[in-house]
C-alpha cells in the first residue's frame, strides 16, 4: 500500500528554489536512504515528508488522503504516526533534562505518566543513554546528543521513522548500534527513511536509494544498481 505519494512538489526558502519537481512514491514497510551532496535538499525533503512546511506547488498524499490543510491541529493525528529526527540535535533537545526531552512527544500524544516513564526507560536502555537521562542536554557530547535526539523521537513509537543523518558524529560502536536499531525497527514493520552521506552503512541496510542533487531526484533505485554505478556516484559527490 502506498504510504506517501508526492506529485511534482516544489519548495523555496525566501523565493530561492530548493526542491523542484519531486515525484515520489513510498510504500509501507520500505527502508529508504536519501543521499546526495551538501545542500541537495535532503533535509528539506524530510521536513516536507513530516508536513512541517507546505510545498509551494504540487500535491502530497499520505495514506491515501490528500494533505492540503497544514494547520497544526488538523495534522496532529498524522504527526503521531510520523517521527522526524532533525539533523542538528541541538534544536531537538531543548528541555532542562534529557528525560524531559524524551517525554515531550509522548506528553503531546496524551499518554499517561506511567506509560511515558516506561517508554523512556525502554528507549534509553536500547540506546544506552540511561546515565544521561538527568543531565541537561547541554552537557552532552555531540554523539550523545544525537543518540538522545533519536531517543526523543523513538519514545513516540512512530509508524514512519525519518532520521536525518543518523550516524553523524557517532563512534563506530554507536554507529553499529544505531544501524542495528534502525534495522530491527524496520523488521518490526516500520517504514524507515534516512538521509546520509555514508554509503558504507547503507550498503547492506536499505532496499532503496534515492540520489538527490540541486533540489531534484537524480536517481531512484535499489542499492545494487546504484552503488555499482561509479560514474553516477562521482557526479553526485558521493565518492
Amino acid at each position: 500500500m502506498c504510504l506517501y505519494i508526492l506529485q511534482d512538489i516544489s519548495f523555496s526558502y525566501n523565493r530561492i528554489r530548493v526542491l523542484e519537481g519531486i515525484n515520489l512514491r513510498i510504500s509501507r514497510g520500505e527502508f529508504i536512504a536519501i543521499v546526495g551532496p551538501n545542500g541537495a535538499g535532503k533535509s528539506t525533503l524530510l521536513k516536507i515528508l513530516d508536513f512541517l512546511m507546505p510545498p509551494d506547488s504540487g500535491s502530497i498524499y499520505f495514506m491515501g488522503k490528500k494533505i492540503d490543510d497544514f494547520h497544526l491541529k488538523s495534522l496532529s493525528s498524522i504527526r503521531k504516526k510520523v517521527g522526524l529526527v532533525f539533523q542538528d540535535p541541538d534544536v531537538e533537545l531543548f528541555s532542562p533534562t534529557v528525560r524531559e526531552d524524551l517525554a515531550f512527544g509522548p506528553i503531546h500524544m496524551g499518554l499517561e505518566e506511567n506509560d511515558i516513564d516506561e517508554r523512556i526507560r525502554d528507549v534509553s536502555r536500547i540506546l544506552n543513554i540511561e546515565h544521561l537521562l538527568d543531565k541537561p542536554p547541554f552537557y552532552l557530547s555531540d554523539g550523545e546528543k544525537k543518540k538522545a535526539a533519536i531517543a526523543s523521537v523513538l519514545t513516540m513509537d512512530p509508524e514512519v521513522l525519518m532520521v536525518d543523518e543518523p550516524t553523524a558524529n557517532l563512534d563506530p560502536r554507536s554507529r553499529r548500534e544505531i544501524v542495528s536499531i534502525l534495522k530491527s525497527m524496520w523488521k518490526g514493520g516500520k517504514t524507515i527513511i534516512i538521509s546520509t552521506h555514508e554509503l558504507n552503512i547503507i550498503n547492506d541496510l536499505v532496499e532503496r536509494i534515492i540520489i538527490m542533487n540541486s533540489g531534484r531526484i537524480v536517481k531512484d533505485g535499489n542499492p545494487m544498481e546504484i552503488l555499482g554505478d561509479k560514474k553516477l556516484l562521482e557526479e553526485n559527490n558521493l565518492i
Binding site: 517521527g83 532533525f86 541541538d90 534544536v91 533534562t97 524531559e100 515531550f104 503531546h108
Partner: protein
C-alpha cells in the same frame, strides 16, 4: 567597548550555564516532587501570597524558614540554592537601603545626627520597612525556587494548565524556558569558536568583527527558534499544552502539604489575636 560586550556575553552565558543548567531536582524523591503538582503549586503560591500581603516581620521571617525547610525536604542542593539566590537580596538590599532613613527627620530615631540643622537619621519605621521589603523578596524567591526546581518545569506547566492558567501564558513560559537553554549554549559555543580563530590575530583586526557578533546572535536565535519550533511541531506540539494525564487522588504527602499551610495560617491568627 567591543571587548566589554564580548566579556559580558561570555560572563552571562557562563552564569546561566552554572545556575540554570545545574538545577534539576525534579526527579529527586523529595517532599514536593512526590506531591500532586497541582496541590504543591497552590500551596507554594499561597505561601508567596502570604509573604507579600502580611506586614509582620517575624511572621515573614518564619515563612522564610519554612521555605528553607521545603528546600531541604525537596533535596535541592544548598550550594545551588545560595548561588541562585545571592544576587536578588543584594539588589533588594540596595533598593531598600535608602528607606532606612524614612520618614525623614521624624522620630523615633534608632540613630540620629544633625545635618545642616536638620535632625535626621535611621528611623525605626524606616528600618522596619526596608527589612520587610528585603525579607519579602527573599522569601518569595525561595518559594519560587521550590516551585521551579522542586515541582520541575514539565509538571509545573501541567499543573498550571489544569489550574486554568491561560494557554498564552503557559506557552510563553515554556518557549522562553526552552529557548534560553538553547541560545545560551549556542552563544557559548560561538564565543569559543571565535576565540579559537582569533588566537594570535591583531586585536584591532579582530575588533572589526565584533560588531557582527550581536547581529549574528539575533539572526541565529531567529533561525534556531524556527527550527526548534518545527521540531516541537514534529513531535506533536499543536499550540495547546497537554498537561500530563496524572493521578487526581491526593496522597498523604499532599495532605501534609496542606496541613503545613493550615498550621502556619492558624499559628499566625492565634498569635495575632
Amino acid at each position: 567597548m567591543a571587548e566589554y560586550l564580548e566579556k559580558t556575553l561570555e560572563d552571562l552565558s557562563d552564569y546561566f550555564r552554572s545556575v540554570y543548567f545545574s538545577g534539576d531536582f525534579s526527579s529527586r524523591n523529595g517532599l514536593v516532587q512526590r506531591a500532586n503538582p497541582d496541590v504543591a503549586l497552590i500551596i507554594l503560591i499561597s505561601f508567596i501570597v502570604l509573604a507579600v500581603t502580611i506586614s509582620d516581620i517575624y511572621f515573614i521571617a518564619f515563612l522564610y524558614l519554612i521555605s528553607i525547610l521545603f528546600i531541604i525536604l525537596s533535596g535541592i542542593d544548598m550550594k545551588f540554592y545560595l548561588r541562585s539566590i545571592v544576587f536578588i537580596p543584594l539588589f533588594t538590599a540596595i533598593i531598600a537601603l535608602p528607606y532606612i532613613f524614612y520618614p525623614f527627620s521624624q522620630p523615633p530615631f534608632l540613630y540620629s545626627m544633625d545635618l545642616l540643622g536638620f535632625r535626621t537619621g535611621i528611623t525605626y519605621s524606616g528600618l522596619n520597612f526596608s527589612l520587610l521589603l528585603f525579607l519579602r523578596v527573599i522569601t518569595a524567591v525561595s518559594f519560587m525556587i521550590v516551585i521551579t526546581y522542586g515541582i520541575g518545569f514539565r509538571r509545573l506547566l501541567g499543573a498550571m494548565k489544569s489550574l486554568g492558567f491561560p494557554d498564552v501564558l503557559i506557552n510563553m513560559l515554556s518557549f522562553t524556558y526552552r529557548y534560553i537553554f538553547l541560545i545560551v549554549s549556542q552563544v557559548h559555543d560561538m564565543l569559543l569558536s571565535r576565540k579559537s580563530k582569533m588566537c594570535h590575530a591583531d586585536r584591532k583586526i579582530a575588533n572589526r568583527w565584533q560588531s557582527y557578533l550581536l547581529g549574528h546572535i539575533f539572526y541565529r536565535s531567529h533561525f534556531m527558534g524556527e527550527n526548534m519550533y518545527y521540531c516541537m511541531v514534529s513531535r506533536g506540539y499543536d499550540g495547546g499544552n497537554p498537561g500530563m494525564k496524572k493521578r487526581n487522588n491526593l496522597t498523604y504527602i499532599d495532605l501534609s502539604l496542606i496541613m503545613i499551610f493550615i498550621l502556619v495560617v492558624t499559628t499566625r491568627v492565634i498569635i495575632w489575636w
